[in-house]
């Protein structure tokens, strides 16, 4: 573990050490409760009827035959919930069930509640929907160039616009054209990132319960209980004070459960109509069609550098294929450009990003929202530039390091920054110097770096309230209860608040209970997205715990007739600092405090800095209280005969500020690197075209055909934690859940180039695509080990 600035443990007892998760044994013994594990008395089962057409008008829906089927309790259609919604308040463009038009194969048109699942499935067959098919938009370029000859996917957002456009963002910082003129080398590249999906192992599931007093409860496998709470109230027209959202443990999400989905509204509405609890569980196919995964990006980059390897200018043009609805698309369009401006100093930068609608499942946020695709392109651009100017690509990245406590060209505030240590870690661990350009032909090593946000300074809907809150209470048994609304999706945020309570209040971890994920009794946390949770709920937990700690110190100090600051809480005891033999069990300390102050409880909250962003339209997007940094080295072997790329090992160094529990941080790093590796080599979320089946039909909506890596596919991963001790993070922590994904893909692309001299600019690097690239290079005579750069520090010519 690299630790700039000395011993990270300082005076911490638990934080920084490997610890169990609070729900770890529940998960390994089968006791953990996920949404589909819940059965309520009298519960009905729901199903959603979905469109077989990618684009069509709904002429009529006749539900009478379905309603007449024995065992069917209710059938609803779009007219029953005709309020549009959307996770971004400015782009509400979808309905729980389509009202007049379907926009992708899989769009919901009606929902049934029946006595059991089999009856609900039979009832779906009895719903008569008449469609008038419309020409579909399946290609984003065609969608962009459409002239209104056939109906656009949506109504135009602005007068004179093509209705297929969701969002256009053009931003320029510094003198881009002059920067290109100043460059000794300009590299141009065109890249394509095929979409990928989250594929959590748990399918989406929701249960609705409507009680006679008008209270609606929805259990859901969601990452965003608070936003779901708001949207349920608005769309179903229920007083928000009578809506309760309960989030059981979530079986994986990765961004795929971070906005409201049709099933959550449907179970609510069906429960309101029938007076019975209603459950809907997606099939695996429905999970693929609900999607909201990574957007396909068509990217063009021009990047300039001086002969001594300093970036001068970056110019990007990106087309995002958004699918049928806006989802987070407004943010994705900004992120496609805004998050590229570190860890390298860019004197000038321009991006021009357009998101279009197409008649495919909506794209949204997947781990590394909006910035994994451009990071792939850009880190390959850097590799090309480094080669052109003859500088080792790690050295090239060092020379452009943006530093700490600085501003990016787009005015984002960067504070702690351990990127140089990340580079050094992977350089050392991978034995880079012995391998780069030195491995035998067919084997290669590549490097890439990246940055990511630890949450965003501005919430999705504008408000001045905290982004995260925690309540804590202490009882007479010596136990601490933490009430946390943060969304546990496997990353460990329930454990983080427990570690903090134990650290601050001196109790052992098994004396902390975490009460979680219920909008009736846990304070608002905005959700598990944008890598915000540890940073924000962690700070809120510290705030709450320290308020209690001060009361306990004061009460003990009074009893001992010493100063409160001299009372330490640790190891289940209160100690007197000048003489630690003077001590009492923590329970007695708690009891003294309760006697002095009354029942012991506190609240804590965290809000982000609001005054650190660029003063331009969009300048708040990408602004984060802290940025994480990552570097990967990947070693590959390319099989010339089959085009199979065998990733031997990925070294992952990540600056997470401080590892509150290194086991969990490593887990995030390894899981991220795995997911990036999967996108590099295996995964494509693609649809058939008219020549190969029905246009808009998912090519492979199963976990057999949409190939995610098994244990045999996954390369060896080595985690190298770097700690930069962030000034604002909890104990110095920053995010670790998304940043470590970014460099996986370009590191592998750059390793392939080092192996065989072939540039892979189109994802995924599947065997057929790799094989064709090898054959093309063979014909062009360029299939060979690239030349080694000049030794570091040697004079370089233009």
């Amino acid at each position: 573990m690299t630790t700039p600035g000395g011993n990270p443990q300082s005076d911490l007892n638990l934080i920084g050490r490997p610890m169990r998760k609070v729900e770890g044994l529940d998960k390994s013994t089968g006791r953990a409760v996920y949404t589909d594990d819940i059965v309520l008395p009298g519960m009905l089962h729901g199903k959603i009827l979905r469109s077989p057409h990618p684009h069509a008008r709904i002429v009529s829906i006749d539900t009478r035959r379905a309603e007449a089927l024995e065992g069917v309790h209710a059938v609803i259609t779009g007219q029953d919930m005709a309020t549009p919604y959307g996770i971004i308040p400015w782009t509400p463009d979808e309905y729980p069930l389509c009202t007049d038009r379907v926009r992708y194969i899989g769009d919901g048109v009606a929902a049934v509640a029946a006595v059991d699942e089999d009856t609900a499935i039979r009832a779906m067959d009895l719903i008569d929907v008449e469609y008038e098919e419309l020409p579909g938009f399946h290609d984003p370029h065609a969608a962009l160039e459409a002239d209104g000859g056939s109906p656009y996917v949506h109504e135009a957002k602005k007068e004179g616009w093509n209705g297929n456009i969701t969002k256009i963002v053009k931003l320029e910082f510094g003198e881009v054209d002059a920067g290109m003129d100043d460059a000794d080398v300009v590299v141009e590249g065109e890249y394509f990132f095929e979409g990928t999906t989250h594929a959590p192992i748990e399918p989406h599931c929701a249960i609705g319960l409507y009680e006679g007093n008008g209270k609606l409860t929805v259990w859901s496998a969601t990452q965003v209980p608070h936003y779901l709470h708001r949207e349920l109230a608005r769309v179903l027209d229920v007083d928000p004070a009578k809506v309760r959202v309960i989030q059981p443990l979530v079986g994986g999400a990765f961004g795929g459960k971070s906005e409201p989905f049709d099933l959550e509204f449907c179970v609510g509405k069906l429960a309101m109509i029938t007076g019975r609890p209603v459950k809907i569980l997606y099939t695996r196919e429905e999970v693929f069609y609900s999607h909201r995964g990574r957007h396909p990006f068509h990217m063009k980059y021009r990047t300039g550098a001086t002969a001594d390897g300093k970036l001068t200018s970056v110019d990007a043009k990106i087309l995002l294929d958004g699918g049928a609805y806006a989802s987070f698309g407004l943010v994705t369009t900004y992120y496609s450009g805004q998050l590229l401006c570190a860890p390298y100093e860019m004197p000038a930068y321009r991006f021009d990003s357009t998101r279009v609608y197409t008649n495919k499942p909506a794209c949204g946020p997947k781990r590394g929202h909006g910035s994994v695709q451009p990071r792939f392109a850009f880190e390959v651009q850097i590799d090309k530039l480094a080669e052109r100017v003859g500088i080792d690509p790690i050295e090239f990245r060092r020379r452009n390091f943006i530093g700490s406590n600085t501003r990016t060209v787009n005015e984002l505030r960067v504070t702690s920054n351990g990127f140089l240590e990340c580079l050094a870690s992977v350089e050392r661990a991978s034995e880079w110097a012995d391998k780069f350009r030195r491995l035998p032909f067919g084997r290669g090593i590549g490097i890439a770096g990246s940055t990511y946000i630890s949450g965003t300074n501005y919430p999705i809907y504008p408000n001045e309230m905290p982004q995260s809150g925690v309540q804590m209470q202490i009882d007479r048994s010596g136990r601490v209860a933490v009430f946390s609304g943060a969304s546990e999706i496997g990353q460990g945020c329930d454990s983080v608040v427990a570690y903090i309570a134990a650290e601050e209040l001196g109790v052992s971890l098994d004396h902390v209970r975490v009460m979680r994920g219920d909008t009736d009794f846990t304070p608002v946390d905005l959700g598990a997205y944008s890598s915000r949770v540890t940073f924000m709920v962690g700070n809120a937990a510290i705030d709450a715990a320290r308020k209690l700690k001060r009361m306990i110190q004061e009460a003990v100090a009074e009893a001992w007739e010493v100063r409160p600051g001299e009372v330490l809480l640790s190891g289940g005891l209160a100690h007197w600092a000048p003489d630690t033999e003077r001590q009492m069990p923590i329970r007695e300390a708690f009891n003294l405090a309760e006697a002095k102050f009354g029942t012991l409880g506190s609240t804590g909250s965290y809000n982000t800095p609001k005054d650190v962003h660029g003063e331009y339209r969009g300048g708040t997007i990408g602004a984060s209280p802290a940025y994480s940094f990552t570097a990967h080295a990947a070693e590959v072997e390319v099989d010339m005969e089959t085009g199979i790329v065998d990733v031997k090992k990925v070294w992952v160094a990540h600056d997470c500020g401080r590892a509150l529990n290194p086991v969990l941080v490593e887990g995030q790093m390894e899981g991220s690197a795995y997911m990036g590796f999967a996108e590099a080599l295996m995964e494509e979320h693609i649809f058939k075209d008219a020549d190969h089946g029905r246009a808009g039909l998912h090519n492979a909506p199963s976990l057999l055909d949409y190939r995610i890596p098994t244990s045999l596919d996954t390369p060896e991963l080595e985690s190298l934690i770097v700690e930069s001790i962030d000034p604002e993070g909890p104990y110095g922590a920053k995010e670790a859940g998304e940043g470590p994904l970014h460099p996986s893909i370009p590191a592998i692309a750059n390793a392939i180039y080092d192996a065989v001299g072939v540039r892979m600019d189109r994802l995924p690097f599947s065997p057929p695509r790799m094989w064709r690239a090898i054959e093309a290079a063979r014909e062009a005579g360029s299939l060979r080990k690239p030349a080694a750069p000049k030794p570091t520090g040697a004079p370089v010519g233009a």
């Binding site: 998760k21 770890g24 013994t29 089968g30 089999d118 399918p203 994986g252 995610i708 244990s711």
Partner: protein
Amino acid sequence: MESTTEIVRLTVNGDRHELGVPTHHTLLETLRYTLGLTGTKQGCDKGDCGACTVLVDGAPTLSCITPVWEVEGKPIRTVEGLASADGPHPLQDAFDLNGAAQCGFCTPGILCSAAALLEDNPSPQRDEVREALSGNLCRCTGYAKIYDAVEAAAARLRGEGPSRPGPGSAADVQETGDRRTDR
């Protein structure tokens, strides 16, 4: 599809049951819906992901594509049956200790595959662990922590590990700390 119900006799985790089950139900449906043993998970319902893995006659079996009638009279063991009155199975404890369960949804199936491996092979090499788990998809961990956990449990089952410390105790932290320095 009209369903009829018939009686099936199952032995699950040592308990014998006589159950009225729709004739088209799978073992997974019977475990989850009829017996309420929800530890076994449904991830894809078509035999692709391995989340529904249970042990039938000691062999890892995809319960979502196993008609319940095929396992009549055979001993079935689920994640709920791995622990004993003495505490969790060493695998279950090692998964917790090593951070091998993130979201935990694939965990019950992986534990069943791993338990079958360790019954057959008390000292598996890493490649053997990878092979044994290759039918269970995990989307969170990149598998690395899972290998650590299986190897740690194997060592404990061979009598090489320390006895299990309480969660959160100093010894617990010490033990996980030792694991790290060993690597």
